[in-house]
């Protein structure tokens, strides 16, 4: 963040620092006022009676934790299936055979254009009315299928753009030592593309996790649905939603932080010891 920030402006001098301090104080006052205003508005929803249920272990062991477990289970399954589908589709789009490229391309474009919710609802009914799978699996399958097709397409695009964003020199160097194009793809391009896109892949995981919340619309017993049940029992809808939002923020923030940590680690391995050197494409030519 600061790396980026330094692009735009000078290091602040003493006067700028004073101005910044004033803005900071005003900003905090406004923020605190806004938060206080909302809390005041919600004072009837955040009464002890409506918050106390969360002190009851049953709220957690009977509702929120199983719900979170179901959310994580659906997300984890979808991640695995989406990665498998995504790698297949991504390789398909990079294939040397035109018809495979086209078919995979159409598939990817279609599922990127259709809302996940639509896919979920459709596949849910499909599992109920057409395949007649056991009811315990209907919602789960609906959620996983919806998430897999969409995120698989997104991952396919990530892989494709990851491969395309590699310097051309990498594949040319591979060809030049005598590797065949498919060897170049598997031993040079894919490993690097996947490393390069790992952070985006983890961010996609956050998307998957958030989108499992749509599962409650097809009665998947995820954390949102469990929370709805809990709030029906306790009559504290708003308080419950706030708790669920906090759960999502914490879990997703942990994932995002993991992604950033991963990115830093990967970057550290490839870091140049001297960042100020000219990029390899800029020729620096000594003569005489």
């Amino acid at each position: 963040m600061n790396q980026q920030a330094s692009v735009l402006f000078d290091a602040p001098g003493p006067r700028a620092q004073k101005v910044h301090l004033i803005i900071t104080i005003i900003g905090w006052v406004l923020l605190i006022a806004a938060v206080a205003g909302v809390l005041w508005g919600l004072r009837d929803e955040l009464t002890p009676a409506k918050l106390l249920p969360f002190a009851d272990p049953m709220a957690w062991t009977g509702y929120l934790l199983p719900g979170l477990g179901a959310t994580l289970a659906a997300a984890a399954t979808s991640v695995v299936t989406a990665i498998i589908l995504g790698v297949l589709l991504g390789c398909g789009r990079l294939s040397g055979i035109k018809i495979i490229r086209i078919v995979c391309g159409l598939f990817v474009e279609f599922f990127r254009a259709v809302p996940v919710l639509l896919m979920m609802v459709f596949s849910w009914y499909f599992f109920i009315f057409v395949l007649r799978v056991p009811s315990a699996w209907q919602s789960f399958a609906g959620v996983v299928v919806g998430l897999t097709f969409y995120n698989g397409s997104v991952i396919a695009e990530l892989i494709r753009s990851g491969v395309h964003s590699l310097p051309k020199g990498q594949s040319e160097a591979g060809l030049a030592v005598g590797l065949t194009p498919s060897q170049v793809l598997t031993s040079i391009q894919l490993p690097q593309a996947i490393t390069a896109m790992l952070p985006s892949l983890v961010s996609q995981l956050v998307v998957i996790l958030k989108d499992t919340a749509l599962g409650s619309l097809i009665v998947y017993s995820d954390v949102l649905k469990q929370a709805t049940e809990l709030s029906t029992w306790k009559g504290n809808l708003i308080a419950t939603f706030i708790v669920v939002a906090l759960i999502f923020i914490v879990v997703n923030y942990a994932l995002t932080s993991f992604a950033q940590w991963l990115e830093r680690r990967l970057r550290a391995r490839g870091a140049r010891p001297r960042p100020a050197t000219a990029p390899p494409t800029a020729p620096g030519l000594p003569t005489v």
């Binding site: 009977g62 109920i128 007649r132 009811s135 315990a136 029906t232």
Partner: protein, 259 residues
């Protein structure tokens, strides 16, 4: 959900336990409270199960949301369904019904101090809440009050939340469901059922199509429950606190086997 572990081909019954489908999110009828289940549907289900020879932890409850009820029965995942399941001809093509064990009617839930809503005709210009895709709301709009402003959600609890905050004027669905919400401690004294039902919903017990033997057992169990007075006790315990009075003209109903 913990109790869905009992799923599978044989889970419906015949073993040493029986799986029964109920609603999990309808106070007064079928509500999960942690690991307990409460409500009138649950009381009747437990009574019938006991008559069939299952008691205590031999009875496994499974959530059955409206859209999944037929498949649950057809695939044998549940033996019986007590889930505000109105008997009608379309459904009879797929499942058989025992009962009815209750005759409900569509009604309105309003704030306790509300006096200007007395029935569906008085809803013109008012905000009415119901669940998405349900017939009750369409019913009112088409038959009674064209000018009603409909708000729809996926669960009734959201409607009730809106009503208690005053941002809708009425909630509509079967009177007994409404009474269940009004009977919840957190809404005590704040909401009331108008008490002028304008349809008839016969709640049946869903079971496998053509299983007349089971149907007969269910019906005699229900009859016994009514005759013994346990039926009335169950009503008083579950929806009674709302002040809701069962229409005695129709209730308790007479189970007409094989209906």
């Amino acid at each position: 959900v913990s109790d869905e572990a009992a799923d599978g081909g044989t889970a419906g019954g015949d073993g040493d336990s029986i799986t029964i489908g109920i609603k999990f999110d309808q106070p007064g009828l079928g509500l999960r409270e942690g690991s307990e289940y409460t409500g009138f549907d649950v009381e009747v289900a437990k009574y019938v199960a006991k008559e069939l020879g299952y008691e205590g932890d031999k009875v496994v409850f499974k959530e059955s949301v409206s859209a999944q009820r037929e498949t649950l029965i057809e695939s044998g995942q549940v033996k019986l369904i007590f889930a505000t399941y109105s008997i009608n001809d379309a459904r009879k093509q797929k499942v058989s019904f025992g009962g009815p064990y209750f005759i409900a009617g569509q009604d309105l839930l309003v704030a306790a101090d509300n006096t200007d809503i007395t029935g569906p005709e008085s809803l013109n210009g008012k905000k009415l809440c119901s669940v998405a895709g349900s017939t009750p709301a369409q019913n009112i709009k088409e038959k009674f009050a064209q000018q009603v402003d409909l708000q729809e959600y996926d669960t009734y609890s959201k409607c009730v939340q809106e009503l208690s905050a005053g941002s809708v004027d009425a909630v509509t669905t079967d009177n007994v469901i409404l009474a269940g919400f009004a009977a919840q401690p957190q809404y005590a004294g704040k909401l009331k059922v108008v008490g002028a039902p304008f349809t008839e919903e016969r709640y049946g017990v869903g079971l496998k199509k053509g299983d007349t033997e089971l149907c007969g057992k269910v019906n005699s169990a229900i009859t016994k429950m009514i005759d013994s007075g346990d039926w009335q006790k169950a009503i008083d315990k579950t929806v009674g606190p709302s002040g809701f009075k069962v229409a005695t003209a129709t209730n308790p109903p007479k189970p007409d086997a094989g209906s």
